[in-house]
């Protein structure tokens, strides 16, 4: 049991500490810290490339920068304009619906499939890969194009419905359905939370289940009282990552609508609108202000989640 607890950090410390006995090593805590920073090094290096645009965009958010001429400071004008921009409201609506519908569903599906796979199937590695594959592809242009065809008027979905005499709607071009089509695409890419769930499930000691069985607990009871609490940090992690990811959705909306956010702004994701503002309407100051609003929104939702997590996430350390 205790091996399980400290396995990963211990292994890391061994690598990071270097040849033993060269000089006096710090406390295990110090060593752990050092190895921690070593693991964070790629992130720090990457940060060098994002830190400049990061602060540049903060400055530009308060200017009328139009890409071509020198930016002029305009105070809060961009933020005031945002409050009155109906398309901004529409883009927030699209993004919120997308996030709050697709994230819970895709997490539920991911957990369900992970539970099934965790029961020790033959050829687990193959299933795992098969279910993970969409995650690698889902954000790609090619898959969104493929999705367009699958859901197209002559696509296999409507072809299948046609077998039963049902005339399917125009999934892609009808503004009443286009966003649902993208939500289905997002749910389909449940692979990466699934793999993380699977890793978590494998670390739940079987002795708990054995003990619970002896006490006569049902499967459902075991799932609720053992599995869920023990993997709750992982559910939390997946929830946060999926939320952040879907708030930032761009490719799906861009490719599906040919960059317009159409039909009728029904797939106008926040980031897509931001992009249009910056690069087709040349209002980069406004687009920068939008980026900061998105950061605020993500930060608020993440903060809410962290606060709420105190009541349902179970940390054992």
């Amino acid at each position: 049991m205790s091996v399980l607890t400290k396995q990963a950090p211990g292994a890391a410390a061994t690598i990071a500490a270097g040849p033993p006995g060269r000089r006096k090593q710090g406390s295990p805590r110090r060593r752990n810290q050092r190895s921690g920073y070593l693991f964070l090094l790629p992130w720090f290096l990457g940060m060098l490339f994002t830190i400049v645009p990061f602060f540049a965009s903060l400055y530009l958010a308060f200017t009328d920068y139009n890409l071509f001429t020198e930016p002029n400071f305009v105070g809060l004008a961009n933020f005031q304009a945002m409050a009155e921009d109906p398309r901004l409201g529409q883009s927030l609506k699209v993004t919120f619906i997308y996030t709050f519908v697709s994230v819970p569903i895709s997490l539920a599906v991911a957990l369900l499939i992970a539970l099934v796979l965790n029961r020790g199937l033959q050829g687990l590695a193959i299933y795992r890969s098969v279910y993970y594959l969409p995650s690698l592809l889902g954000g790609s242009v090619a898959i969104v194009m493929l999705w367009r065809y699958i859901f197209g008027n002559e696509g296999i979905i409507n072809g299948f419905l046609g077998l039963f005499g049902i005339a399917g709607p125009a999934w892609v071009t009808d503004p009443n359905f286009s966003l649902s089509t993208l939500i289905v695409l997002n749910v389909w890419t449940f692979g990466s939370p699934m793999v993380i769930f699977l890793a978590g499930l494998r670390q739940v000691p079987t002795m708990y289940y054995e003990a619970a069985s002896i006490d006569g607990a049902s499967r459902w009871r075991q799932f609720r009282s053992i599995t869920i609490p023990l993997i709750s940090p992982i559910i939390f992690f997946n929830l946060i990552m999926q939320l952040i990811g879907s708030f930032q959705t761009f490719t799906q909306g861009y490719v599906m609508s040919g960059g317009t956010g159409g039909p009728a702004d029904s797939t106008l994701f926040y980031n897509l609108y931001l992009y249009q503002k910056g690069f087709t309407e040349f209002e980069m100051g406004y687009a920068s202000a939008m980026a900061w609003l998105l950061l605020m929104i993500i930060a608020i939702f993440t903060a809410i989640n962290f606060i709420a997590s105190k009541f349902w996430v179970f940390y054992d350390n």
Binding site: K6, F237, D265, F279
Partner: protein, 434 residues
């Protein structure tokens, strides 16, 4: 150490990961480096189009390079969507191309931000043969920022193979009205048993309502760069498509998935619609894609409305970046593209009828029947005097997007044509007057 199992995750990891992920939301774009000077001049020349257009353009460029030793041309082409995006980032990064193709609706977005050169200040570019009506389409405040690559207009193409089989006569396009077109389209749908829709034009492209506005005595865009079209005309434009759909002549909502794509992907080529509005410089491609029995017609309403709606419009415009390091050489290339018959012999009417009449004349013998039909129609519509047309104002790309969005809302019955027209005028005025 507590003797219990954990999953090895901690709060700190979550916070770090979450902040990292959120940080990516804010990264923007970088800049580019200016090319090194010295030695022979290399011009960067960019345009949008397909591989066929590129092949013809490359052939012309080779002739230019032969005629102008010391200048090499590095050209790039893309589809129009990504082209527009890339162009914006290149200008923003301070690394614009020297010579570039510009859409009518984007010209003033760029020009009024000081990014384009005034072509009249470049003596290497000879504009003597270019008609004033063409110059005015790239001009604002007496400065010329864009020069038409050629002229074209819109027309109605009808697949005669379908109408013959259905036994529907095509009305005389010199005198047909919008009502005649609606009757014709509805009849085609009926007589083909609904297999083919009579009409399949794109409601959301601005060239249609621009023509209708002119026929109704309005300028869609006025001489002083404002929106001139009336709410009533836009309502009429939307209402016409709704009525035509209700009558059966136009396909149901959601039928068109990728309207406005290439000729080969068009619904005319697929044979699911019998007629479509196209920029007529593409007639040859549509005719070939749809089986070779396509006829090119004038737009309806040219004699039945208040006045003529047609105008000879720039297919696209050539511009030179204000920041070009080689404005002389860039002007030479533009002069070649405009006034050189040898170059035009390669590009033919790919970007519209050449604007220099002598050049246009010199290539007539080399044209295929499809292109000849296009050139003849361009000449025929200009025989009568046409009302003047003006450069698209700044904000025209927002107008185009607004039209597209509202056309879909109307298509699916989410707003009435009257409400859509009202919104269109409000949003367009806001974008143009900003």
């Amino acid at each position: 150490m507590k003797k219990t199992a954990t999953t090895g995750f901690s709060r700190r990891i979550f916070l770090g990961a979450a902040v990292t992920a959120a940080g990516f939301a804010l990264s923007g774009c970088g800049g580019g480096n200016p090319p090194a000077a010295g030695g022979p001049v290399e011009l960067n020349f960019v345009y949008w189009g397909d591989s066929n257009r590129a092949k013809m353009t490359d052939a012309a460029i080779r002739i230019f390079e032969e005629k102008n030793p010391g200048i090499t041309v590095k050209s790039e082409y893309q589809d129009s969507g990504p082209y527009a995006d890339k162009l914006a980032t290149r200008f923003a990064g301070g690394n614009p191309p020297d010579v570039l193709a510009m859409a009518n609706r984007s010209l003033l977005e760029y020009a009024q931000r000081g990014t384009l050169a005034d072509l009249k200040t470049l003596p290497e570019l000879n504009l003597d043969k270019v008609p004033d009506t063409v110059l005015s389409r790239g001009e604002v405040d007496g400065k010329l920022y864009g020069l038409a690559t050629g002229v074209t207009t819109i027309g109605m193409v009808v697949n005669k193979a379908i109408t013959d089989q259905a036994g529907v006569a095509i009305p005389d396009d010199k005198t047909w009205s919008w009502d005649d077109y609606a009757k014709f389209a509805t009849e085609v749908t009926q007589k083909t048993g609904g297999k083919v829709y009579g009409a399949g034009y794109d409601v959301s492209t601005e060239t249609g309502p621009i023509l209708l506005a002119r026929q109704r005595g309005e300028d869609f865009y006025t001489e002083d760069n404002k929106l001139g079209v009336s709410e009533d005309t836009i309502r009429e434009w939307f209402q016409y498509s709704v009525d035509l759909r209700n009558a059966g002549g136009y396909p149901p909502a959601g039928f068109f998935e990728q309207i406005g794509g290439s000729a080969a992907q068009s619904y005319l080529a697929k044979g699911t619609v019998a007629s479509q509005i196209i920029p007529i410089n593409n007639f040859k491609a549509y005719n070939e894609a749809a089986g070779g029995n396509v006829v090119l017609l004038r737009m309806p309403g040219e004699t039945t409305e208040k006045r003529r709606g047609y105008s000879a419009d720039p297919t696209m415009l050539w511009s030179i970046a204000a920041k070009s390091k080689h404005p002389k050489e860039a002007a030479k290339l533009l002069d070649f593209l405009t006034n050189d018959s040898d170059g035009a012999a390669e590009t033919l009417t790919q970007r519209g009828v050449p604007i220099n009449p002598d050049v246009a004349e010199s290539i007539t013998a080399k044209l295929s029947p499809g292109d000849t039909a296009f050139v003849n129609m361009m000449a025929a519509i200009q025989e009568d005097e046409l009302p003047p047309a003006y450069v698209y104002p700044k904000g025209a790309s927002v107008v185009a997007d607004t039209l597209k969005q509202l056309a879909t809302e109307v298509e699916f019955g989410r707003v009435t044509p009257a409400d859509a027209a009202k919104t269109f005028i409000e949003k367009s005025n806001a974008a143009i007057n900003k």
